[in-house]
């Protein structure tokens, strides 16, 4: 074997692809604090910090579990259901591409995938805000990131049975959107409704946070979808552009529905429409034409809107509607690929409308299997955690708010009447002026 053929066999790192993927990884990481802002605006002011902190905690917990075992289970080997333990502790994850198709360092590929695991864990928190104990959430996040996210990531991205069948999922309709949405439903059922749910109006406390969070999420989503081709090729460019098109169309539909129903186009509705549009195009981004991406935005928003109208009329306090915005939208996006995928645009497969009914079958399998797995495992996992420790705050703590209860801070502290406490006082506090004792 001569030197030339030897060189050709060694996978090559492409500098342009690597540069884009480093930027994309940072963009996706930013989506998690952006989600924190979005969620924090939707809750009451006394739970602002706790809601944001669940997203911050997702970064801490999911990054660690991903590096220790999650990445290995998702991306080592091509087992049907689960990967191997070859990359445990990031062993062997280095600067060379992971396989002959990849043009970026393996380490960067791992980092990009880590940001997906992080935001998916953060997404699920939307179902349990304002009442779940912070400690119980940390335990849940730790186990969920491995038992649900890593497994579904293996199915769709890591060479598992869905990927093997040819199911198309560009940027995570299976492991991110459907997994978080249907897990959120299970979490809401196990943890239970907030104590005042259905009895009092529990309103968003800051619509500006919601809009700003949605805007930053959309910005970050260009890395999420645009980076999911792992290069700067045609599929990546297509996904990047569709990430602009579909949410804009979803916004138009949302405005129209809002105007028809209530005669007013709402701001929080618009923020929701941006998220729904981004989720719709997530699985389909690199596979469907820009024209079909517009149709997806216009039509795909309909079931999500209906779900968001219907859910609060039920007893299920799936608080921030993760199921509607992520589960239903991800489901719709995954199925839509099966109808309108075009080999001329994606270089891989046609959908039903272009003569390939098999593709729709592969998509339908994913749309059934992923929600079933995510819901079942999350339900059992939370029941088990609930058997060991309480999942919920006490009624008193729930009334006072999660911020003071679990973080000892308030988002909107006035500082009036606050007295400095110095540790050298031995921890004894001044006696209150009107001590009843």
């Amino acid at each position: 074997m001569n030197l030339v053929s030897l060189l050709a066999a060694v996978p090559q790192v492409d500098s342009g692809d690597t540069a884009w993927m480093m930027a994309a990884t940072a963009l996706v990481l930013m989506m998690t604090p952006a989600l924190g802002l979005f969620y924090a605006g939707l809750v009451r002011s006394k739970n602002t910090l706790n809601t944001f902190m669940m997203c911050i905690a997702a970064i801490a917990v999911a990054m660690v579990t991903w590096a220790l075992v999650g990445y290995s289970l998702a991306f080592d080997g091509t087992g049907d259901l689960i990967g191997g333990f070859g990359y445990v502790g990031l062993h062997g994850v280095g600067f060379l591409p992971r396989n002959s198709e990849s043009t970026i360092p393996h380490l960067l590929f791992m980092a990009f995938q880590a940001t997906f695991c992080i935001i998916t864990v953060a997404l699920v928190s939307g179902a349990v805000v304002e009442r779940m104990r912070f400690g119980a959430f940390l335990v849940f996040a730790t186990l969920w990131s491995v038992l649900v996210y890593a497994v579904l990531a293996h199915w769709a991205f890591g060479g598992g049975w869905l990927a093997e069948r040819g199911t198309l999922d560009f940027a995570g309709g299976v492991p991110v959107e459907m997994a978080s949405g249907f897990s959120a439903l299970a979490a809401a059922l196990v943890v239970g409704a907030r104590k005042d749910y259905g009895r009092q109006a529990l309103l968003p406390h800051n619509a500006m946070y919601v809009l700003l969070g949605a805007g930053l999420l959309w910005f970050g989503w260009f890395g999420f979808n645009g980076g999911s081709g792992f290069n700067t090729g045609t599929n990546s460019v297509l996904a990047f552009t569709n990430t602009l098109i579909t949410p804009a169309c979803a916004l138009v539909t949302w405005f129209a529905l809002d105007l028809i129903r209530g005669r007013k186009a709402t701001a929080i509705g618009a923020a929701t429409a941006i998220i729904v549009g981004c989720v719709l195009i997530t699985p389909a981004g690199g596979f469907i034409s820009p024209g079909w991406a517009m149709v997806l935005g216009f039509l795909g928003a309909l079931p999500c809107y209906a779900m968001i109208q219907w859910r609060p009329r039920t007893r299920v306090d799936e608080t921030l509607d993760v199921l509607a915005a992520h589960g239903v939208a991800g489901f719709t996006g995954i199925l839509f690929i099966g109808f309108v995928a075009q080999i001329g645009w994606n270089g891989l497969a046609d959908g039903l409308f272009y003569g390939n009914a098999d593709q729709l079958l592969d998509q339908a399998l994913a749309a059934i299997a992923a929600p079933a797995y995510a819901f079942t495992v999350t339900f059992i996992l939370l029941k088990l955690i609930g058997a060991v420790m309480p999942l919920r705050a006490s009624e008193h703590d729930e009334a006072v708010g999660m911020d003071v209860t679990y973080h000892g801070e308030e988002a909107y502290v006035t500082g009036e009447g606050a007295i400095l406490v110095f540790p050298e006082d031995g921890g004894t506090l001044p006696v209150p002026v009107a001590d009843p004792g």
Binding site: K46, D196, Q200, H396, A399, V400, G401, V404, G408, E409, E410, V413, T414, G415, E416, G417, A418, I419, L420, V421, F422, P423, L429, P430, P432, V433, A434, D435, P436
Partner: protein, 117 residues
Amino acid sequence: MKLVIGIVRPEKANDVLEALYRAQVRGVSMSRVQGHGGELERVETYRGTTVQMGLAEKVRFEIAVSDEFVQPTVDALCEGARTGEVGDGKIFVLPLDAAVRIRTAETDHGAVTPVDK
């Protein structure tokens, strides 16, 4: 005619409103206030600065009622605001010299009696 002032926990404000509504007490003003009673105070930490929150958030209800409504109003405030812990709040009942409903210039008893639309 009396002015009933009730200072309660903010998290119980909705329960108080419900109890007042059930007692058919309709004219209510409420405001957020900060106060100091006997409650065990909260300690919060901000980046290494530990502070004892000397003032607690409270909600202050002001309700002008005719004499026969004084007891039901006080009962409703107690029922809605009580948790049994220190810091549940106080109720003050003050004599009220005069009341005027601005829209109709009705005075006193007529002014503090809700109108049925």
